[in-house]
Symmetry: C3
Subunit: 482 residues, 3 copies
């Protein structure tokens, strides 16, 4: 049986008629604002080469752990879905993988993945029947055909999506060739990078040794010496700024920071560099490095992002067969109050420092993060993250942070995605949910309608530019070479 | 002053007219579905003997810690309510106890106990005036009179309630005579047992020594030897399966699991069996046993339930006078991510393993449990439990788990009760709250109405049968001897 | 541009028309009830001297850390706002400070501070245009002019606000002169004190040594001897009762309690008194003192309040320049289940003991606090506190505690403020939010309307009087000397 696919124009707005009318009016003014995506994981190679994507499975399914983790949880193997393992892409027929996915599409009822995908299907590809086992082949064929056309090349979609700026994330040990190629190409899409040094900061990272070697090469510094190591970071940060970066990003298991003396830090680094460390040393080193990066940010003005609290690669067997980032990262309870104190004791009142905090532990919203951001000038709250980047998750974020931190200590929306086609869908969801929240405040006479209208603009567009210094003269936009 | 008692047909539905209409339509299709009660604590003796209950106090009040804990919190003594202490049932006049309860009935405003009781009063007994000090005697008399009639015998009510299956819970050290008697009686009510070995797994359990002795007797194994102990569990699990069990249940203070080597496990057991252990040893033994039970489930297919996080018998004085299960169990903060890893490292990808997780720590819903269940094939989420088995608790459960785990990694409703008469009320509340949640998704255009209708059926009936393997050919229904 | 200021009569009620109508009807009956403020931090000197306040900045802005913390978080210095530092009031022009505050008033959108201030502006001062940069001077002038009139003296406002009782908080080491002066003055406003011994109980308190010396003087006891120290507390508690106190208050970093033997307690005290202690000793001493205070409450009937879980003075630099209570206190994760057990093991069933628990960790509402208060006769739940004393915070409090603890184990509202002019606003918000919550229960047919009406009265007026023993013959009202 075939079901229609139609995005209702009031989706995600409250059912109450008065509140819905207010939400609709607020949304109307922000729906078409340009998209600023200041943090995410799209591949800059797409925009450098502008090569066409191949098929629905390789574009939408196999790289998206939000999707295959759900099917995996119901007993579907990753091989059957075409997800690469440590030996590369399996020999699965992409069409068969797509059929399998389509037959399980009901699993996504009530999830944000469903909302994003339906948006992509309807808005990007123009489908008007819902995905199901019955329509799997029609979908696969139509998507494949569309992707072969110029209008579905990466740059064409970037322009069509109304993206004003897109930030990718590269490691300290990675070259920025794709960004250089984009600039050299003369295409004017504004794609910038972000400095993510985790692989050379976390001795427990599986690529640490390799990454350090590449870091040495790229920086030309002796990164096995404490002074050389810090100098290498400074050099590479400058490289990243030249490629448009205004921000760094730090994905640590906890939010721990440390404030060691110079001598202690150097001794600790020597242990790390020589492979002579315990897990506690590794944690202390990551903690100290957050403080070192804060020091560098005080110098160079780069905005710090801290994404803390993910227990990575929880599924031992899957990690052994398939490696990292396969949907097996699980959030953990996270402390910020004591964890951030060493860094804040040293730099908490530095006016040039700006740190955006993210959490996977919602119990910290009202208890720790909103009180911290509602006090410290250097702290801002990143939007609801990862598992919580969803209608209910965003609503809880606003309900639990606004009363203490206000709206102006938040930084707008991050899509944080590697699923490029879903970017407009994700921003649309965020704008709708924020308008719904504001509409409730108006309907309950807690805000005037004109204030809500101002706030809707700020949440969709204004705050993110300010928080990521995108208009800051200190960070001039990187111009295309043409 | 006498007040009317009338259950509104729209109770627990949202006030918004559009959403309410949707909820009502969804509920209409599931209201009369058979009840499956896969986990609870009713007494199988009731159905074996089919003897009449005596009076309101002994049936409804004295055994129900949800009720007397509230009165106790306001200074009423348990003696005055007829609650048994370590010396047995106090000499309190049941009618006086009932009067005292009735005079305090206002304390339950806003609680689920109030909803369940009013349902029992109106639907099971047909009252149309509310319980209060003024109507206490009339209630006591009418309930007593009803209970003396055949229509209010346990089996008659079981049939009237439309119960398709009811699971009780027995210890590894307990005989299954009542279940045998039920089957031998020729009555066709499907009542099954559940394997709950806590008393022979937890050395800190007050009945550990006695339970071990009974366990040895019933199994005919040397349970003080590690191999004999494991063999006894296997034997008794087989006994339980023969009495219809498809599941085991584990009520541990934490969710800790361990993965000791065979030698370590045997050494640890020797300490436990000889009484030569510390609290840390006890915790490690419970943890290791969860992993051992997972191994057995991989063999015999029984579904594991883990009910973790209750600090039992918190009130020292009350425990000394009245013993266990007297309303003094208090939830505690509970970790699942690190706690379950040892078990999952060993069995996390076993396709025959199925573990249903319960929590008393709602902060783990979105942070830990939904991400775990939304990834691991062997993990499912049990419904909101105990203190959270309530309209607001169920709503929070859906709001905080659905976006990450979806609906299909949940397992329908458990009433988990020893209050047999409240079973229809509890399932009715669950169905209403789930329909209300689905209705909101429909009203906000996040689900199509036909999808919500399918889901309402699954949540009320379909998922529980699948999760507890009630239709699995591996577990043929136990037939009545007749 | 000037915007109107008008308090909507339906503010904070739900948008749904049916629910709103019910809320409005409930609120109508409680809106004008007298205010009982059983816990707060207003200055008794105001009422003793009845001297006029000076200007908007000194009255409303400079003492209110809710306000200046938000501006500070956005880079405004405390000096520029006229906030005193360790050297006293800065030389800032109060009018300039007020202008700065007014220009940043948009930061408070969505916060309770905005609701309270607008209420003060509209209801206390009669403004009908909103505060903004454009109206800053007009506000400053009008407020200054009003404060110079007799109608805006402290006692006149106390009477105008309909306050039946107001409790202040004084330290064990502080005299009660202002309270004596109030009574001696013949004015009949009922202002009582509360016994807050933190400064002589917490060796880590920065005033500990000085406070101990004053404690010795005022009590005439040898407070450096364990027996003398306890006797001094008993004497001062009697002094406080004579000044109307019915309650004590304990603001500890954690809720830890201890149950040491007499000998252990005495040894520990000797270490504390001689300055020979570690942080762990300090924590243990605070813990033991909660149990000692419970013992005293069993004797003298004073109600204990425990305000646990604030990490004080988190901002090192700010603490060094400005001292305590400057908006840099951050909540922390807090355990109650294990923390309170030592005290409860000893006194948990004492019928004369009553302890009101407060938390800054909302994850404990449903998990720990409601189960504890729904069981122990001596435990009650204080209202949502500090960062959570807000519409969303109060709603979450009711949603997460009512189903387990009911309404009758809660104690009405505390404004807990040093901002005297905001007291009517804060009570009005609490009454509105409670009526909105009750209205939802009525609209969902979970409560009858007459029950909700009874509860609205209890939540606004009845429960607080009972919980704080304000009508208890054991605590006769302190009569004015006239």
């Amino acid at each position: 049986m075939t079901r229609p696919l139609k995005l209702n124009e009031d989706r995600l707005f409250p059912a109450d008629a008065r509140t819905r009318d207010i939400a609709r009016a607020l949304y109307r003014e922000v729906a078409a604002l340009p998209i600023i995506s200041p943090h995410g994981h799209t591949d800059p190679a797409w925009f450098a080469s502008d090569a066409p994507w191949t098929n629905a499975t390789e574009l939408l399914l196999a790289p998206d752990h939000y999707l295959y983790r759900m099917l995996y949880s119901q007993g579907v193997t990753l091989d059957a879905l075409g997800v690469p393992d440590r030996n590369g892409v399996p020999a699965t027929d992409p069409r068969e993988a797509w059929r399998l996915f389509s037959a399980h599409y009901h699993l996504f009822r009530g999830t944000p993945s469903r909302i994003w995908l339906d948006h992509v299907f309807a808005e990007v590809f123009g489908f008007d029947t819902a995905l199901s086992a019955d329509t799997a082949d029609a979908y696969f064929d139509a998507i494949g055909a569309a992707l072969a056309t110029p209008a579905f090349r990466p740059r064409a979609l970037f322009d069509r999506f109304g993206i004003e700026l897109l930030a990718t994330t590269e490691g300290a040990h990675e070259p920025l060739d794709h960004h250089a190629a984009i600039r050299a190409s003369g295409w004017r899409g504004r794609i910038v990078t972000t400095y993510r040094p985790d692989a050379v900061v976390d001795p427990e990272h599986h690529d640490f040794a390799v990454a350090m070697a590449r870091f040495a090469e790229l920086s030309g510094e002796d990164v096995y010496d404490w002074r050389g190591y810090l100098a290498a970071h400074r050099k590479r940060r400058a490289d990243f700024r030249a490629a448009g970066a205004t921000a760094t990003d730090h994905g640590h298991p906890t939010a721990a920071t440390a404030n060691l003396s110079a001598g202690e830090a150097e001794r600790l680094f020597r242990q790390i560099a020589t492979g002579n460390w315990t897990p506690a040393d590794a944690e202390l080193f990551r903690a100290q490095m957050l403080t070192e990066f804060a020091a560098m940010s005080v110098e160079d003005g780069m905005v710090m992002q801290i994404h803390a609290g993910s227990c990575r690669n929880h599924n031992r067997v899957l990690f052994e067969s398939h490696g990292r980032d396969k949907g097996a990262d699980i959030p953990t309870r996270t402390d910020y109050v004591h964890a951030l104190k060493p860094l804040l004791d040293r730099f908490g009142t530095e006016t040039r420092l700006s740190i955006i905090l993210f959490t996977l532990d919602e119990s910290t919203y009202a208890r720790e993060l909103a009180p911290l951001a509602g006090h410290y000038p250097c702290l801002k709250l990143g939007p609801s993250w990862w598992f919580h980047d969803s209608p209910e998750g965003m609503r809880r974020f606003r309900e639990m942070t606004t009363e203490t931190a206000g709206f102006y200590n938040t930084v707008g929306f991050n899509d944080d995605t590697r699923a490029f086609l879903s970017i407009p869908a994700r921003h649309d969801v965020a704008r709708r949910v924020d308008c719904a929240f504001l509409a409730r405040l108006v309907a309950e006479h807690r805000l005037a309608e004109w204030e809500a209208a101002e706030l809707a603009q700020e949440l969709a567009y204004g705050l993110v530019k300010k928080a990521y210094k995108l208009d800051d003269p200190e960070f001039p936009p990187v111009a295309a070479a043409a």
